[in-house]
Symmetry: C3
Subunit: 348 residues, 3 copies
């Protein structure tokens, strides 16, 4: 595939600066780009690289001055780059057919142009929307619903009655709708609380690989529109994750907690149950959230605290041993001073 | 299904207070309950909600006074509620048949009323107990044994020679009997220690989704009766987890460690190898356990310490920067005092 | 199988001390060994056990004096023991045949003595090297390459264009080549950055169970020769892990980070993106690495610091409350002293 810079600018909605007839045949990162590639600069600190990159053109912000390269100038160069990558690497073309080695239950409604690979198991009464794709070794329990355009990678398990929206992507090995972790003490042992709710995943969500999202005890565990989870994320029963929230790898969210909209949970965060994290909050990596977080707040540490406090406190931690020694020394000194003072007073 | 309150009280062994003829058609949490539902109050702080809930009846402790609702009074309301949930939501009825699209090895012994779904692979010499259910995409290596009434959800891998007890539940994506992580240094590289032991899981254990429980180097990794693990738990080779212990999500237990009975390991705990955690110990969330924990102790922090100490220490951490400044100020002051004192002494 | 001690010494390259005709029929740990077994002592602190073990012979270091047992004396007893274990427990013999219930795409090249189990799905244009084994429920996307002698356990997903080397072992449930976690902000929502790179895993790597190794945004995520990962490890897009590095369970490595050679990352470590960890560095359990680590350094804590500093600092943490009280007391005392001094001065 080959496009002129002008054509690409049209696709992403940017303005050409320099030779619009420059031919572009591929996309690449700024260090690896070769002639024929287009690359991008989103961060001004890489501007110098823009002069020396092997790329034939650069996507960058409107006010950028690059002497040596033709440019596509646009407000959000990273987004424009993503669109150019998509253009040169369109999604794999699926067969739009249902392999006879899949098992499809009774009363399953399957839309148009659905691709179902071999070894898929679909239970009774499922609904599969138009253009959905289900890769090998996926399991859909009874009465599961999959929205139009949704893509389910291999070995995903979706248990009974879960509802998956449109244009959702679920990466391999993820488990949706496993039982919540609920037990009632029965003497020294435990009695299982039946987990009779389900999981609802709304449109445009992306779930990473090997996630586990438990079904609600009653009602639903709810992942709202536009949420993106990285790999190995664990979401417990009855949790709500608000729209456009980003959950980085290996985060664990305990039962019945509500995460607001546009929240960022960085890697390996752990969150206790039955709390609330406000819209637009940011939780730093490895934070242990032990209570509510107000909207817009940035928190870190364990237990969590305002991020600035954590930054200062964590910088102090390596100084603790010397602080302790200094404290000891001072205690001795103050005692000497007291003795001396007593002597002085008595001497008067 | 519809039952009178008196009938339900009989099922759970509680006493009716109020109108025993009240008709119950479902169960629900206290906030979501509607007429015809029964709900429960285990925690006295929710008593007020008992007056206003939409439920037609409430399960609560014997000494509870609720003016407006008929009650089932019982010592353990949560347990009774769990039993009522189970009553209104009986487990899915399995087919009790072996799908011809499953692969069953040679000399496999299969009990009565066993359900084996399509795409299950069972190796040679396996034993499957009466009433067991094995969902699609499960793998059982050679000589695996599955006890009666055990339920194995989709995409579970159980490698050769592992022994699974009765009434065990294994959630989707879990791996039982993968090789322990053992290598001998061979110059700069590593030589694999063959992991020739196995995993034994005893009766009434529940294993969450996407767990990994490694086989022993020699002998067995042993999960004892009644243990419950949440999702994404990792248990290394030769670990022993004692009866009725609860392991919350994303916990990791290193090799050869012994966990006692009735222990609670909260979320994201990490435990070093070759140590011992005593019966009834509780390990707080995110704790890094670096050595033995005596029976009954509650520990937290990293490295772990008694929970009370950790609570106090962790409350001090945000104060560290101001403590450091205070210390600096005091050092200056004490020096000034010393100078002054010296002057005073010399002046005498 | 039965071998004389002399024969076993020949196999591992050690020297017999004592009766070389001693018959050995198995291997065992020092506590569990019975007559006919051989065991080993790698750590001098277990020397006493060498006298009392039930084993018929012991593998130990050349300078070891054990009065009661015949020995194989060798520089690296643990490595020798591993080889003896391998000898008595040779790897399972595979069928060397391709099951007709596997799905094999078009133009797939399959080497000699390859074993492919039922329910394996192999896409178009894949290459499978001689002697490779692929267990049930594995998925290989289009154009995947698997090296000779590689062993892929059940339910492993390897997406399109990934390259796996020779003698690699991938444990069950691992996902290789899932999309990297990359999004460009598009207003309040996110636009997916197509992840068009792949994963390359070099020779002699072992990947634990339920790992997730994401494909590069562009170019490759690269796991170099001899790397060993434990279970539930997450490696993000464009990461490079250097030769013979060991990654313990539940570690997470963020995007574009470079890990050197012979590095050790202990359990539950988290590493930020775009940094570099030098050769031979050691990162302690649960460490949060927030920036570059120089070669050979040992770091711990969060944020990471030199391990010695962390040891000292972490020992101080439980003392924080009493330090705070001491500091308060001192402040009061110093104020009293100042008052007194002022009085003295005025009194002069």
């Amino acid at each position: 595939m080959e496009k002129s810079l002008t054509e690409l600018a049209g696709i992403v909605g940017g303005a050409v600066i320099g030779d619009g007839s420059t031919k572009i045949r591929g996309v690449s990162g700024i260090d690896d780009a070769r002639p024929g590639d287009i690359t991008f600069i989103a961060n001004p600190k890489y501007l110098k690289k823009g002069e020396t990159t092997g790329a034939s053109a650069v996507i960058c912000a409107p006010d950028t001055a690059l002497a040596t390269k033709p440019l596509i100038a646009i407000k959000n160069p990273y987004l424009a780059f993503a669109k150019v990558v998509r253009f040169f690497h369109p999604p794999a073309c699926e067969t739009g057919s249902i392999d006879e080695r899949a098992v499809i239950g009774s009363r399953v409604q399957i839309g148009k142009d659905v691709t179902i690979y071999p070894f898929v198991y679909i239970g009774d009464d499922c609904v599969i929307g138009d253009g959905a794709t289900i890769y090998p070794h996926c399991f859909l329990g009874n009465s599961v619903s999959i929205g139009a355009g949704t893509l389910i990678y291999p070995s995903v398990t979706i248990r009974e009655r879960c509802i998956i929206g449109k244009r959702v992507i679920i990466h391999p090995g993820s488990v949706i709708g496993s039982d919540g972790f609920g037990f009632a003490k029965d003497g020294a042992s435990y009695y299982k609380i039946p987990q009779v709710g389900m999981v609802q995943i709304d449109d445009d969500v992306e779930i990473g690989a090997n996630n586990t999202i438990d079904r609600a005890a009653m009602g639903k565990t709810w992942i709202q529109r536009g949420v993106k989870t990285d790999n190995q994320v664990h979401i417990a029963h009855n949790v709500i994750v608000g729209e456009d929230t980003v959950v980085v790898a290996q985060v664990g969210i305990s039962g019945s907690t509500r995460i607001g909209k546009r929240v960022t949970l960085a890697g390996q965060v752990g969150i206790v149950g039955h709390i609330s994290i406000g819209d637009d909050a940011i939780v730093g990596a490895k934070t242990g959230v032990s209570g509510d977080v107000p909207p817009g707040q940035i928190v870190s540490g364990y237990p969590h605290m305002p991020h600035r406090d954590w930054l200062k406190a964590s910088r102090t931690i390596p100084k603790l041993p010397e602080m302790r020694i200094a404290l000891k020394k001072m205690e001795d000194k103050v005692q000497q001073i007291e003795t001396l003072l007593n002597a002085l007073q008595e001497g008067e």
